[in-house]
């Protein structure tokens, strides 16, 4: 219950900040723009015409669900990569501001356990990420569904995978904040892990480019510990694009990401429990 109260307070703070309002407004404007300017002519379940801003675009007559796949795939990639990076920068301040001198003493004097504070902050931020991703992807699904009569939740699943990826990155950001109490350090660690995770997704092909022996073993050892962000990103875009993916592969990746997040968060709590403020 206390964890949820802390997460809810974080949401209240987020929605009082102009950057989050700008983000919400930008996603909403994008959805309104799509709703007002995109016209899809559907005949017997096939896309026969497409108008964007009133201009007709030549399309081959194809089944609607097939025609929409590239759009959903593009949306999934946007949500998974640039949007996640934007969230890393946007959310970097939350944990350090909670740990700021004068704030943390007050929080710790309340009947709140230290792990509840860490977990509440973490869940609040990951929840925010899920909210914005689902709002964008869900809105796009609904609008295109209303225009074509074909409703699919594939982009929503892809957006959820984006949240899973962000959850792993944000756990490291929380740990950095506990250690250094700095938004810059937190954002730096987040961005570094994000790009390292992108490389880790290609670890097999990259390893073959590294000289055999100790350097390759070191690369493989380090990247084996990292969340494979690009691998999950590929899965997310494949799901959104309607390609078949192995359930076991997806489940394995998700479990790996969540295990990474849980381990790093546990380390953050361990450090937080021993820290004086």
């Amino acid at each position: 219950m206390t964890v949820l109260s802390i997460a809810a307070d974080l949401w209240r703070q987020a929605f009082a900040r102009k950057w989050f309002l700008v983000l919400g407004a930008a996603v909403t404007l994008f959805l309104i723009g799509i709703a007002l300017t995109l016209r899809l002519d559907v005949v017997d379940g096939a896309l026969s015409g497409l108008r964007l801003f009133g201009r007709p675009t030549t399309v081959e007559i194809t089944a609607v669900d097939v025609a929409l796949r590239p759009i959903f795939k593009a949306a999934a990639i946007v949500i998974y990569y640039p949007f996640t990076l934007f969230l890393i920068a946007l959310c970097a301040e939350f944990a350090p501001s909670l740990l700021a001198p004068g704030r943390i003493e007050h929080m710790l004097s309340l009947p709140v356990r230290r792990w509840e504070l860490v977990l509440g902050t973490y869940l609040g931020v990951v929840g925010l990420s899920a909210l914005f991703s689902l709002y964008g992807a869900g809105g796009l699904c609904l609008i295109l569904g209303a225009k074509t009569g074909v409703l699919t939740l594939r982009p929503v699943f892809a957006a959820l995978l984006g949240t899973v990826s962000f959850a792993a990155v944000y756990s490291a950001m929380v740990a950095a904040a506990v250690l250094a109490r700095s938004a810059t350090s937190s954002a730096g660690v987040g961005i570094a892990l994000y790009f390292a995770g992108v490389l880790a997704g290609y670890r097999t092909s990259l390893a073959s480019m590294i000289r055999a022996g100790l350097p390759r073993q070191a690369f493989e050892a380090v990247t084996s510990l990292l969340p494979r962000i690009s691998a999950l990103g590929t899965v997310a875009s494949d799901i959104a694009g309607g390609r078949a993916v192995s359930t076991a592969h997806v489940a394995g990746l998700i479990v790996g990401f969540l295990a990474f997040a849980a381990a790093v968060l546990a380390a953050a709590v361990w450090g937080f429990e021993r820290k004086d403020f």
Partner: protein, 312 residues
């Protein structure tokens, strides 16, 4: 005797990677504060006052010693729910209004955030006209008042206040003092850490003085301020100073000091003074103010160069 705070032989050392021995902020502090009193902790900068308060609230964990607050372990959230705390440097969420901030603290204290009671609290600390403003635009004094309101949520049994009137205007200080008096009357224990000695003197009935991480004086204000066997006497203008001096009165400014515990001796001296034509205006026990008490407590005793045990 029911104790609000029991601290026994606390040691807190701040260590760094480079300095493993560290800096000793609290060095074997033992202190007991009875319930229902106002206790003031005094001391110079860096003496360990804030560290002591943080130990009480588990914000800082000591390496050694035992801490009990309100009869329990302060690590227990149920104990901390009965404590109201105002930190020295309060950083409040700038985007919140006082109402949303106090509602948030209420939820974390497991107190139902009823709007009416929150507004009453805001009114009580003198922020009624600013209840809808964002905290980011508040002055330091206003933030202190709001922090005090947060500390008062849930009618705590113990109020721990670290420099509560820092940045507060004189009228605000009076209001806060009245508020603390009301809390004391309710049965709350007040633990005050303030640099303002006059404020501590007005609010607190018990005082502890801490220096270099050690409690060097502790007791009731009356005990600490009493100067053993001295009386302060005022005579009406025109008294003969030489004859008063001969009777045993030492002039200190416009007043006179009479040294001695014996009341009969005092009366005899007063009779002599009256016989010499002096008119007595006032006789009272000579009491030190807190500034003197603190100054005496913090002044190191002179080291005797020729101590008996010293060998040549």
């Amino acid at each position: 005797m029911y104790l609000a705070i029991e601290v026994h032989d606390i040691e807190k050392r701040y260590r760094t990677w480079r300095n493993r021995k560290g800096f000793c902020a609290l060095d074997g502090v033992t202190l007991e504060v009875p319930r229902g009193v106002a206790f003031g902790l005094l001391g110079p900068n860096g003496a360990g006052k804030t560290t002591f308060i943080k130990v009480l609230l588990t914000v800082v964990r000591p390496q050694r010693g035992r801490v009990r607050v309100l009869g329990g372990d302060p690590e227990d959230p149920r104990i901390r729910a009965r404590i109201g705390y105002l930190p020295e440097r309060l950083d409040l969420p700038a985007h919140f209004t006082p109402v949303t901030f106090l509602a948030s603290v209420s939820r974390l204290k497991h107190v139902l955030p009823v709007r009416d009671s929150i507004l009453r609290l805001i009114h009580r600390v003198g922020l009624a006209n600013d209840s809808g403003r964002k905290i980011g635009g508040f002055s330091k004094g206003m933030k202190q008042r709001l922090g005090l309101a947060a500390a008062l949520i849930g009618q705590p049994d113990l109020l721990v206040l670290d420099e509560p009137t820092d940045g507060v205007d004189p009228m605000g200080r009076i209001e806060i003092r009245n508020l603390l008096s009301a809390e004391l009357a309710r049965g709350c224990t007040v633990f005050l850490n303030s640099h303002l000695l006059a404020e501590t003197e007005r609010v607190c009935s018990q005082v502890g003085i801490i220096s270099a991480g050690r409690i060097v004086r502790q007791g009731s204000l009356a005990e600490l301020c009493r100067a053993e066997g001295r009386w302060r006497v005022s005579f009406a203008p025109g008294a003969d100073r030489e004859r008063l001096a001969a009777a045993g009165f030492r002039a200190v400014g416009k007043e006179f000091l009479f040294a001695g515990d014996d009341l009969l001796a005092l009366n005899r001296a007063l009779d002599t003074a009256r016989a010499a034509g002096a008119v007595i205006a006032e006789v009272r026990p000579d009491e030190k103010d807190l500034e003197q008490v603190m100054s005496e407590a913090l002044t190191p005793a002179p080291v005797s160069l020729a101590s008996p045990g010293a060998s040549a």
